[in-house]
């Protein structure tokens, strides 16, 4: 890259840096890419039909929130499950170890869509068959689709991250744990003060990638009638008989979400250099 020198001069003047950055954009190949992108965007705006958009904005917003809730919920719950799944596979007694690794293998070895349908159509209809369950406080929730969606996404995330955490726990240098013991930490403190945070620290770069993958798994819950972003866009397509416009919008939104997540997670990673 011949323009590296002009871009890299560090710190002194941000104005000059900006100018250098702009000049970097003016390379011929970049100009062509930029022109293509702008032409595409202009064509999309002028040649395509976006008249439906204002009317559907509130519903799209609602779908976006559902998608984000499903992502956040399944990542948080799934990660909370992944920690014991990972630990048990490293230091657990043999039966527990088999159980955990069996769970991870089965879940990772079958399609998420299949798990989702098994839970929703299988478990869901099973619950409905028992009047005892239909009379409990949980029934109003169990009647909905989203708990099954959240459950399936959570189980899937837990299984993948359980495997990641197994590696992360096993990879924490023994010397650091030994140092913790040598300074008089109880086994509990060794775990919570050193082993666990150190393992999460090691796993962070992998986890950021997995969270993006999880975002892109969420549209599957539209198949059990959860009104996420994808489901709303599907409804738009059915109502307006348009194919490309809603799908392009959908792609744009997922792209933006991925970008925001990537930047946020990378910032988080940057606050701690990984020590291997």
């Amino acid at each position: 890259m011949p323009d590296m020198d002009t871009i890299t001069p560090l710190r002194p003047a941000t104005g000059a840096q900006l100018l250098a950055g702009l000049r970097g954009l003016l390379m011929p190949h970049r100009l062509i890419m930029l022109a293509l992108a702008l032409t595409g965007l202009a064509a999309m705006v002028t040649q395509m039909d976006w008249s439906w958009l204002p009317a559907y904005l509130p519903r799209l917003w609602g779908g976006l929130l559902t998608t984000l809730w499903m992502l956040a919920g399944s990542v948080i719950l799934g990660f909370a499950l992944a920690l014991p799944l990972g630990v048990v596979q490293v230091i657990g007694p043999r039966p527990l170890r088999w159980l955990a690794s069996g769970f991870c293998t089965v879940v990772r070895g079958t399609p998420l869509l299949l798990q989702l349908w098994l839970l929703y159509y299988g478990l869901g209809s099973l619950f409905a068959a028992y009047p005892v369950i239909r009379e409990t406080w949980a029934w109003p929730y169990l009647r909905e689709a989203w708990p099954y969606g959240l459950l399936a996404l959570t189980i899937s995330f837990a299984a993948y991250e359980g495997e990641v955490m197994r590696g992360a726990f096993a990879g924490v240098p023994n010397g650091e744990l030994e140092a913790a013991r040598a300074f008089g930490m109880s086994p509990r403190k060794v775990f919570f003060r050193v082993w666990l945070p150190r393992a999460v620290h090691r796993a962070l770069p992998v986890l950021t990638g997995e969270i993006i993958l999880q975002l892109k798994s969420t549209p599957l819950i539209a198949t059990i009638a959860v009104a996420d972003l994808y489901a709303i866009v599907t409804r738009v397509r059915q109502a307006t008989l348009l194919t490309y416009e809603p799908l392009l919008l959908l792609a744009g939104i997922y792209l933006c979400l991925s970008a925001i997540l990537t930047i946020a997670l990378r910032w988080l990673e940057g606050r701690m250099p990984s020590g291997g």
């Binding site: 240098p173 010397g175 650091e176 140092a179 040598a182 008089g184 003060r193 020590g275």
Partner: protein
């Protein structure tokens, strides 16, 4: 008890499977002693040191820290602690410096040094931080308090690890070949710090390969061979007038 030895080891044996690594070591360190332990590789130096804070569990024998003997019970082919809390309490008074530093990589230098005062000794954070900063000052690392271990040289990491021990204000320091993993040009800065601490008459047991250094700083030198103390005495005698032919040969090779 002020008169009790800081560390007293009596007839310590340790086997790993068939390997009889320690074959009856008896050793006393009084407060203020700087005991240098020398010997070839496989002589049991590190194992002996690691038995003192029970990172290794002895097969038989007894160990007392400031007069308090570890309560052990038979099990697991040797001895195991009868009271884990006692072990934790005693360990918190013994600072250990490792060959590979073993700093906690997910915490800054300051975080490493305050960790034990706050979370083991239970000091208020402000007090722990004052102690930590004083300790870092002591080893010349005050300006690196906010650095991450991964960004430091080996010498700096080892000095931070020594500060981590100083912040505990231990009864005795255990140093396990503190310069063996360092590049030659970084050995000096770490030895200088240890030399200072020895001059303050801090009790320490130092396993080392640096003979000249052992001669300079130690008040007492122990030569281990095949899991036994073959010879011990003041450094002038051990280095100036060694009696055992093995020690003579060992020093000849090391020089």
């Amino acid at each position: 008890m002020q008169d009790d030895p800081a560390i007293q080891i009596i007839d310590l044996h340790k086997s790993f499977g068939d390997a009889h690594v320690l074959r009856g070591v008896t050793l006393t360190a009084r407060p203020g002693d700087v005991v240098a332990v020398i010997g070839g590789s496989g002589s049991g130096k590190s194992t002996m040191l690691r038995c003192i804070n029970l990172l290794e569990q002895p097969s038989s024998g007894s160990i007392a820290i400031r007069g308090e003997e570890y309560r052990m019970r038979p099990g697991d082919g040797g001895l195991v602690p009868a009271d884990p809390r006692q072990v934790q309490r005693i360990r918190a008074q013994l600072g250990m410096v490792f060959q590979n530093f073993n700093l906690w990589q997910h915490r800054t230098v300051l975080g490493n040094v305050t960790e034990v005062p706050v979370h083991v000794l239970g000091l208020p954070r402000a007090q722990a931080e004052a102690r930590a900063r004083a300790a870092l000052e002591r080893v010349g690392m005050a300006d690196k308090a906010d650095a991450w271990p991964a960004h430091l040289s080996g010498g700096q990491q080892q000095r931070a690890a020594i500060a981590r021990v100083l912040a505990v204000d231990p009864l005795a320091m255990l140093l396990d070949e503190p310069t063996s993993a360092l590049d030659p040009e970084l050995v000096g800065e770490v030895l200088a710090v240890i030399r200072d601490l020895a001059a303050e008459r801090r009790t320490m047991i130092l396993v080392t390969h640096e003979m000249r250094f052992a001669r300079d700083v130690a008040s007492h030198v122990v030569y281990l061979r095949d899991g036994r103390i073959e010879e011990q005495g003041p450094p002038e005698q051990i280095f100036g007038d060694p009696r055992s032919p093995h020690l003579r040969q060992f020093l000849g090779n090391a020089a």
